[in-house]
Amino acid sequence: MADNLNIHQIAVVPEQVTNIFKPLATPSESIYQISLLTLAICGVIFLIVGGLLVYTIIRFRTRSNDEQSEPPQIYGSNQIELAWTVFPILIVFVLILVTARTISDVQNATHPPDSLKVTVVGHQWWWEIRYPDLGIVTANELHVPVSDPAKPRRTVLKLQSADVAHSYWVPQLSGKVDLIPNRDNYMWFDPKQTGLYLGNCAEYCGTQHAHMLIRVIVHQQEEFDRWVLEQQKPAVDNREVTAGRKVFLSTSCVNCHTISGTIAGGKFGPDLTHLMSRDTLGAGAIKNTPNLLRAWVHDPQKLKEGCLMPDMQLSQQELDLIVAYLSTLK
């Protein structure tokens, strides 16, 4: 595979890339703080109440010698009731204050004007990714610049859906936000480290909900700029694969897929203009290797059962030609 995209220079996938307790951006960090606080409070309550329960059960079990008599009959006590009403109210009060603050911190943050704006559109079962200010359209793998303290750079996602409800969840960057048809939702993050971040669609959206995976690739600013330049170029037009290109453009692939600079302008499936710049196919279902690409074009139903790209019934020759052509789309 190609060398122009730097994906391979990115550090190896870190351990536990989807652990919510390993936050690497501001929103996930604030959530992490309140999570720890809530966990601690709940843990203490559990120890106290659980401890009381265990104590009561052991202390007041029936012993063999005094089976007969009944214990003193106690009907209640107003003071005690008051005590165990007031204490929980105080705890709840503290939690409410912290919660309200975090909600406001995350939701009402104002974004600097130089924030990177990206629109993510959920489709059954892949993500359309658009950079309206940069004129880039791609799919499934979101590329953003790192936000280091010296040069903070925020990314703001506008979330939309083309069909049913989905949910964008990259635990290390932020909590999840749903993508709902006829509605614009927003999410933001400022990744503190370069590297690969993983996530999933978190709202059940039909057959292949499980294979609607998210990859966010965080670059150094210069690296990101290079990626942008590559993506802004029109599709590679390689003379050697003219035959494949012809076959592609004469099959119904064009009704569902776009390749810039050709008549292929379909919007139902992922944009293929720079297909080979992506690491995976089918929203993370499989790796993007020559063999798997061929297998995908041959019959995607075998690799992602139920997905909305049909088995195209290509002959071996057509398949060879089309795959050769697609392989040049760096």
Binding site: T62, P71, D178, Y204, H209
Partner: protein, 557 residues
Amino acid sequence: MAVQEVALARAPEMHPSIITRLHELVVTVDHKKLGLMYIAAALFFFTVAGSMAALMRLQLVVPNNDFISPQVFNRLFTMHGTAMVFLVGMPILAGLANYLVPLMIGARDMALPRLNAFGFWMFFFGGLLLYFSYLAGAGLSGMGSAPDVGWFAYSPLTARAFSPGMSTDYWILAILLGGIGSIVTAINLIATIFCMRCKGMTLMRMPMFVWLMLIVAGMILLAMPPLSAAQIMLLLDRFLGAMFFDTQAGGSAVLWQHFFWIFGHPEVYILIMPAFAVASEIIPVFSRKPIFGYPFMVAAAIMIGFISFGVWAHHMFTVGMSSIGNTFFAVTTMLVGVPTGIKIFNWLGTMYGGKIRFELPMLFCIGFLFQFLIAGLTGIMLAAAPFDWQLSDSTFVVAHFHFVLIGGLLYTIFAAIYYWYPKAIGRMLNKKLGLWHFWLFTIGFHLTFDTMHIPGFLGMPRRIYTYDAGRGWEVFNMISTIGVALQAAAVLCLVINLLWSARKGEKAGDDPWDAWTLEWATTSPPPAYNFEVLPKVRSRRPLWDIKHPEDPDWRYE
């Protein structure tokens, strides 16, 4: 006693054939028979829906497993969830209430016996209709089978465009029927409790069980209609192009979520209040003390009932509500924690200073107390909206509500079975088998659901039919699945026990547990008319007063 002897003497001559007996079940309007029919049907659906869960766990036991296809998996969790809520939880609640409320308030039957039978048959055929979708869901278009839209069926996944065939229609109709059954039962319970109490049984002398069932009935009346309305709107969408929820025609997806959860959250409390009801009867009897703080328990339950109607959007913290909306629902949700805490503390207060007897019903109630405590605390975590942005729709949520519904509700259902089976059948359940049931189930439950919280922290969403290796989810999923085997073995112990003890169990007598409420004042099983002479009561524990004339309760109340 004379009447019963006559009945006994006549019995052998009749030899009712199986047809006669079935016919009797079909035409019966007796609250006890209907109650047992509800429970039996619910247990049947429980084993079916439970087996579906086992299949899902098998699929998830290792990463990239291909035991089950995605389509089948999605149907499994939809049917499992729908069945467990509407065909197990609701009817078992109706069954317990039907059987016990008239006995506990010293009445001869429910206020509206025919309506009662109607409610049962609506639920029962609704249930069959839901499962019939496996055969008929494909409809004329030949697409689909059982419903696969998830038990909360978020629109627009249910629109014709995304759900062709008839599967979603079966889902709608089955739930509509079940809803009618539930509403009818609620009306009947309210009428019974308000109009049929025996002499001396004022509202504040009713057993806690009856109080809680009254509150549940009130909540059903308020919560079910929004669901039924939404189902009808969805039907109109699907057949007449009404476009309420059809986003492609400008409908609103979020509207459905509001409708669903305005029902859905109170529903959670509708399902857990019966657990409170059972625990509030069993814990006092086996601690040998009256319930601690009765008026506070009643007040707390009413408060929970009210607040639970103002928290629904905590299921929607991720749909993009404003920060004010999110804060509001976080606040109300945390507030429910207060009365719920009061209930737990009062049960603790009941046990404190008592003489606790570890019979099976009490063991299950103790399990309930611990597990419900954990469920409540994970609920607080989910109520902290930012935490929920991470946890929502992850396996953590699945673990949380299984702690509520299994660790909470199901444990008290088991407790109720061990406690009242002797009353209903006249024989005790075998204690040894019961202990096997308890320990196997408890170990299995904790293996499955304690571990299930963790993949949620590690980013595993719910409802995925498979997952890749390498995210740290494998071990936990493996242990979860192993736990299922133990739970299944435990349920098998219960089923064997239920069947075996009906014939061979030790005779129970009228009052095997030395208890205090009116159902123990009549024979086991009770005669069709419940009480020869309708009882008169002077306190919350009429049988205590009789057993302890030197120190009756009515002196203190």
